[in-house]
């Protein structure tokens, strides 16, 4: 099927690929060792859970 055309600005451009299909850029330094490891994400979650638990206990202690 032929592509449909439109006179609206930009509508006759071909659609691009989803970002996941894009090639890595120069700034995408995934080739080297990343300092943002899954352990960092786990630490964020653990810290948040600890803060919420501490705040909850703190509020209960002084009510």
């Amino acid at each position: 099927m032929r592509p449909r055309r439109s006179s609206a600005p930009g509508r006759n451009l071909p659609p691009g690929p989803p970002a996941s299909d894009m090639p890595p850029s120069k700034t995408d330094d995934t080739s080297g060792a990343s300092s943002v490891t899954p352990a960092v994400y786990v630490r964020v979650i653990v810290l948040e859970a600890a803060i919420i638990a501490a705040l909850w206990l703190f509020g209960r202690s002084f009510h």
Partner: protein
């Protein structure tokens, strides 16, 4: 204010402008002006991200919230760390690989120019007006506290901010943000020390906690599930998650911050810095408000912190009634101080209730006299404390910190407005193939133009309380829906441009209806908006698939 304090404020503002201009090296091309040549280290980007969202409204309003209701507002941020992780894994690498200047530029590559233009236009409208409010809200308070004319206060923030943002671009904004974060955090920490010193003169630290806890101000977490309640654990962790995903993933004023990072990894680290720091920082600000409350248990506060109508009320037929309330207030404060000093919990709660009741009646008198139905004094609590109880020098630092917060939040927004205007509209639709110098010149003009527009909105909004409310609510009308479009773009391959376009309009329409016809708290609007856009967008995409073909892979 003492001359020394004025000097501190003046020196700070001059230093901010000077250093901002000094940082303008390497901004002679569009890439440098808008993205700092993607050269900033993660910690500078991270501090800039935090500074951009910590406006002067946060400093005066959040401390006021802490004073009145305690720590519970911190729940608003519970979704933030999770949002930062999700964004680090999804949009950060997507935007960086796409090598875009704006988040909306990516939507044209994924969908079409119509979706890009609509989302960018929604951002421009919302952000331009909210920039005016960002400037107006603290300016109203600071004018009343400092005794300045409102236009003078607005110009004191706007002129330096427009100057360094226009000349230095994003680089100047980011490095100024870094300095301002140190001033804000340092000033708040010093204030906490002064507050503790003033309180511990009267009671022990344990009694301090008992007093704050007895009034419920230390109850930060509320697990009750009630969609009508603004701040609960659930609204924060679910509604807040969607809001933060939208704010940090779809709002150019935030996206542009991490696009300046050296690499994907550094961009991720900058967001994770917010994940680690934001909740403790908000706790510091709210705790300051709680400490101000305890401080005023032992130092007589004004009956109302917003004194702008004092003369009008005194001269009105309600003058005698207001004066009688002031006498009752002083007596009730004395009784509360005695109860607090002796650790008599029941008497303390009774007298605190009496103080609150008198304040409520005083607010009613002011409203009845002036006809200002929105009168309140939440945002005046902290500035009043600063100017009446902090030592000379620190007053200047804190006033400078409030100006710093106003400038750092506004500079980032102003730079983002110029970027979206030039990249998404001017270069995309009007002048497509000009020299880089031309785009740089019009970018600076756009920065000045939006800066002046924000000043005018600020002057107008300051006198129109209703406008501030409308603009504040506007954000929740579109944030969730914008997020829905990005979810369609990034997480699905079947979504089409038509589905995204109409899904976005449907999402905003539904949120508008929900906001005006139901009591559902605003944090949930973000969830509703994103869900409607996704469902409507996918339905249209499936029923009416895009007939255009993708170009063959090379």
């Amino acid at each position: 204010m003492h001359l020394t304090d004025w000097l501190v404020v003046a020196v700070y503002i001059v230093w901010v402008v000077y250093d901002g201009l000094r940082r303008s090296k390497g901004t002679d091309k569009v890439d440098g002006y808008f993205l700092a040549n993607r050269s900033l280290p993660w910690w500078a980007v991270g501090l800039s991200v935090i500074a951009t969202q910590m406006s002067a409204v946060t400093m005066v309003g959040t401390t006021g919230q802490g004073y009145l209701t305690g720590l519970r507002f911190v729940q608003f941020y519970f979704g933030l760390p999770i949002a930062m992780i999700m964004l680090s894994l999804t949009v950060v690498p997507f935007f960086t690989r796409a090598k875009v200047y704006t988040a909306y530029e990516y939507l044209e590559r994924r969908f079409d120019a119509r979706v890009r233009s609509l989302t960018s236009f929604i951002f421009l409208m919302g952000r331009a007006f909210s920039l005016g409010v960002t400037l107006a809200a603290p300016a109203v308070v600071m004018s009343a506290i400092l005794g300045w004319q409102l236009p003078v206060t607005i110009l004191a923030v706007c002129v330096p901010m427009i100057l360094y943002t226009t000349i230095g671009g994003v680089q100047a904004v980011a490095w100024t943000d870094v300095k301002q974060m140190f001033v804000v955090v340092g000033g708040m920490s010093a204030t906490v020390v002064v507050l503790l010193y003033g309180i511990l003169d009267h009671v022990s630290f344990g009694r301090l906690l008992d007093l704050a806890g007895a009034t419920g101000r230390l109850q930060a977490v509320d697990f009750k599930f009630d969609p009508r309640e603004q701040y609960t654990f659930w609204s924060g962790i679910i509604g807040g998650l969607f809001l933060m995903l939208a704010y940090f993933g779809c709002d150019q004023s935030q996206v542009q911050r991490y696009l300046t990072a050296k690499s994907v990894d550094e961009a991720r680290q900058s967001l994770l810095m917010s994940a680690f720091v934001k909740i403790p920082l908000q706790l510091l600000i709210l705790t300051t408000g709680v400490l101000v409350f305890v401080f005023y248990l032992f130092h007589t506060p004004p009956m109302l912190f917003n004194r702008s109508y004092d003369g009008q009320v005194a001269a009105s037929s309600h003058g005698a009634e207001y004066a009688a309330l002031e006498r009752q207030f002083d007596a009730a404060v004395d009784a509360r101080r005695d109860a607090a000093s002796h650790g008599d919990r029941a008497a303390f709660l009774t007298t605190d209730g009496a103080v609150k009741d008198i304040r409520r009646r005083a607010v009613d008198v002011v409203r009845a006299t002036t006809g200002d139905a929105r009168y309140d004094d939440v945002s005046y609590v902290f500035p009043t404390f600063i100017t009446t109880h902090l030592p000379i020098g620190l007053v200047g630092v804190m006033i400078a910190a409030i100006f710093a917060a106003a400038m750092s939040a506004s500079g980032g927004e102003l730079n983002a407005l110029a970027t979206a205007t030039i990249i998404d509209f001017y270069r995309r639709h009007f002048v497509k193939d000009a020299a880089d110098a031309h785009y740089l010149r019009v970018s600076k003009l756009a920065t000045i133009g939006w800066g002046l527009f924000a000043c005018v909105v600020a002057m107008y909004a300051a006198n129109e309380g209703s406008l501030i409310e409308v603009v504040n609510r506007y954000g929740s009308f579109f944030y969730g829906s914008l997020l829905g479009v990005f979810i369609l773009a990034i997480l699905t391959k079947r979504a089409t441009a038509r589905g995204a376009f109409w899904g976005l309009l449907a999402g905003m329409a539904v949120v508008l209806i929900v906001a005006f016809t139901t009591p559902i708290a605003f944090l949930w609007h973000n969830v509703i908006g994103a869900a409607v856009v996704f469902v409507v967008g996918m339905t249209i995409s499936v029923l009416s698939p895009d007939v255009r073909e993708r170009p063959a892979a090379p």
